[in-house]
Symmetry: C2
Subunit: 331 residues, 2 copies
């Protein structure tokens, strides 16, 4: 087992979010499924952007948001993701490094423009995401430093990155390094449509015992398990993965690890603004707890605290001092 | 007198804001005067950005914020400002056009990068601005379409643009067109240091009767008038400019127009977040009232309403429906 100098190394899409308010009619006109993520090409990104209102540009990307949360909680983190050689790429790199995240993936001019996610936030605070992957889908196996993976307690992977071929191969390589280095592998299913596209692959990873911690929301989990009732499905599935975490929005979250079960309510909030990043920050809180050897229940509570902060403002990364919010739970 | 198809045409710096939280120690370390704006060059912009936390990128620019507010209030607006041929420029152009503002100034590759303003917001909600003017200072007289100026009821100019030579000449040309076309000229002093640098020029414009509506905050006005006591200074100065508007932050605002005097308190707010754009949006509300023929007092009240919205969130442009907030005042 290698010496662990990093708590969590995440591999994910390096994306800048472009966030705007929209109404349901806008989603209907563009045939979007509210609350989901879809991939769009450069032309569609241009058309959609032209039709959108004024944007707020903020660094995003699912796993990148999670490491931003982990860094805010005081953990040692690293991120791997592909940027284009452009201004949005400079913004992403600046933002993640300014949080103290070790980010070394060089931008590539041959990879196309930096990924952007056009996010429509409706009055019910739901976010509907349209991702132009651009350079992010060009992440190569060569960008993964085996020593960095081996030097991490946990490597965290996002299901979104399973769509394009090259990053998928890079993640599989990272899993193999992790397996032989005593690095735990955490994986998020990311989105119901992602599960639909890659269900067989994800089940293979799980049944090959390549995933130690699996994150899903209720909807994604039921898709994966091909079930309709949550609790029996979780009981059936719990034997297949060492740690299973299922988030349920305002109904809280639950986790199973071996025989252990835990269940927490959602944190109370003053004002729901934008749910973008809720799952990412939940994962941050939970992983922080696990990396620090906390109980399953305390890890869930940390997840709920981190998620509650991010849904009370626009953008998918924390604005308040998460470590202070976590307080004694993480000490 | 030409037919007026536009209510307000503004000429200003086309800037993307990069907003981050900072503490007083950060301002001290970088020798910044809290609440003011200073100009920085490309190297200093790079150094400061590297030292800053993660940013929110939002379109800004003082006069551009004002037209964004006017558009949100339902007025017909146009904007003139120089962008570079880059991604930040595309963001600025998208955002302002998506609000319905007529913006036609072509980006120029030979003008350098699009201007950015690095804004540090402290816990007291004060904003301290560091502007790299880039392409904005290359605005040429040729970018001003005399027919567009003549077709506006009001042309609105920002004092910030007085610093660089080319835009200053462009604004002087616009004033001359306005004078002969029956277009009113509104001017904001922008910043105390700007007044310090250009006091003689501003007084010359005023005494040559080239300014119909002068906006200043208390601090800027006292600098201009070289006075220490506000009310006597306003009384003395009121004879020199047709309409004088002085904003006083939480103490409200007052205006003089000929013999008429009006005075309004600040609007009550729930939560002060970021004062960026307060003066710009005050000007938007006031000009909307004037363009619609409202009284001096109602115009001030519209200014106070628009300013109160923008200081309750990050960013210098309205997020809520300003026309709804203004309600019967603007009907």
């Amino acid at each position: 087992m290698n010496e662990k100098t990093i708590d969590v190394l995440a591999i994910g899409n390096a994306i800048v979010d472009v966030i705007t308010d929209a109404d349901d009619a806008f989603l209907d006109r563009h045939a979007m499924a509210k609350g989901s993520m879809r991939l769009i090409d450069a032309d569609e990104a241009d058309r959609l952007y032209a039709d959108m209102g004024p944007g707020r540009e903020l660094s995003g990307g699912s796993a990148a948001n999670t490491v931003a949360g982990l860094a805010a909680l005081g953990l040692r983190t690293a991120f791997v993701g592909q940027l284009g050689d452009d201004e949005l790429g400079q913004i992403f790199a600046h933002d993640i490094r300014s949080l103290g995240v070790d980010f070394r993936t060089p931008p590539r001019a041959d990879a196309g423009p930096t990924a952007r996610c056009l996010i429509l936030v409706t009055a019910d605070a739901q976010r509907t995401m349209n991702t132009f992957l651009g350079a992010a889908q060009k992440l190569e196996k060569a960008a993964i430093d085996p020593a960095a993976v081996a030097g991490a307690r946990i490597v965290y992977l996002e299901g979104y990155l399973w769509d394009p071929e090259q990053p998928r191969a890079a993640m599989e390589a990272a899993i193999d390094v992790a397996r032989s280095a005593g690095t735990k592998v955490a994986f998020t299913l990311s989105d119901g449509f992602v599960v639909e596209r890659h269900r067989a692959d994800f089940l293979r990873l799980i049944d090959d015992r390549k995933i130690d911690i699996l994150f899903a929301n209720e909807h994604e989990f039921l898709h994966l398990a091909q079930a309709t009732e949550l609790l029996p499905a979780i009981n059936d599935f719990a034997v297949r993965v060492p740690t299973l975490v299922v988030t349920r929005s305002e109904h809280g979250a639950l986790a199973c690890s071996g025989e252990e079960r835990a269940n927490v309510p959602a944190e109370p909030i003053a004002r729901l603004v934008d749910t973008t990043g809720a799952g990412d920050l939940f994962a941050a809180g939970f992983l922080a707890g696990q990396a620090r050897g906390k109980s399953l229940e305390d890890s869930l509570r940390l997840g709920a605290i981190a998620a509650s902060e991010v849904i009370q403002h626009y953008g998918a990364r924390p604005e308040l001092d998460l470590a202070a919010l976590a307080g004694p739970l993480l000490q």
